[in-house]
Amino acid sequence: MSTSVTILIPSALRPSVAGLVEVSVEAKTVGEALGVLTSTHQRVKGHLYGEDGRLRSFVNIYLNDRDIRELEREATPLAAGDEIAIVPSMAGG
């Protein structure tokens, strides 16, 4: 059953989601939640996913302060009230 969760949007991506700081979606898994976000706000899709349809390596997704790579990645199930955060990797030289 889908549950209501919140996706926190970093400032860099807010212009792609109509300026929203957070977005509420109904979903069963992290991947499904991101799918709802990118289908509603299509401009954000290119920032999160590569042409191969996978999350870009410099995009980190956290569920309640844990990197989903330590969980079940995009298949990680959601519970009501969960908070998903899109966290950019910040690096340079």
Binding site: L8, S11, A12, Y62, D65, P88, M90, G92, G93
Partner: protein
């Protein structure tokens, strides 16, 4: 496009980056973004350069995602935003490198300071172009609000 920064904040950033020399230092620019690409830096949040342990901090910086998340959540409660990052180029010009371009995000301001023999010199601010092919330079306005 203009980035305004209070003189005391810029001095603090210069000091932090001189202290990091000969490694690259880094941190977050914190403040408020307005209309038309204008933004005001209210303070800075120094963060650890993860490349120090890897032995590659002489020409690289990397911020732990956990540091980003912690900082952003704290700022959200204060009504402030991460406007971008600052980092140093030890003994190199304050221009973005190809590596900077490959790793840059849209919208964020990237403030770069060249640190020559331990002394902070040139300060320049850059933003990734929409086509990701290069950077556009911002005007840096050092002044009190």
């Amino acid at each position: 496009m203009t980035l305004r920064i209070e003189p005391s904040v810029l001095e603090a950033i210069r000091g932090a980056l001189e202290a990091a020399y000969p490694a690259e230092g880094c941190g977050f620019l914190v403040g408020e973004a307005g209309e038309n690409g204008e933004a005001v830096v209210r303070r800075h949040e120094p963060v650890h350069n993860q490349r120090v342990e890897a032995g590659s901090a002489r020409n690289r910086y990397e911020i732990a995602p956990g540091d980003f998340l912690t900082t952003e959540k704290k700022l959200r409660r204060e009504g402030l935003d991460i406007l971008g990052t600052y980092h140093s180029h030890p003994d190199h010009p304050a221009k973005p490198s190809e590596y900077d371009r490959e790793h840059a995000w849209p919208w964020y301001r990237y403030l770069i300071i060249s640190v020559e023999l331990g002394v902070a010199r040139d300060v320049r601010v850059w933003q990734l172009a929409d086509d990701r092919m290069g950077f556009e330079e911002h005007t840096l306005n050092v002044g009190d609000s």
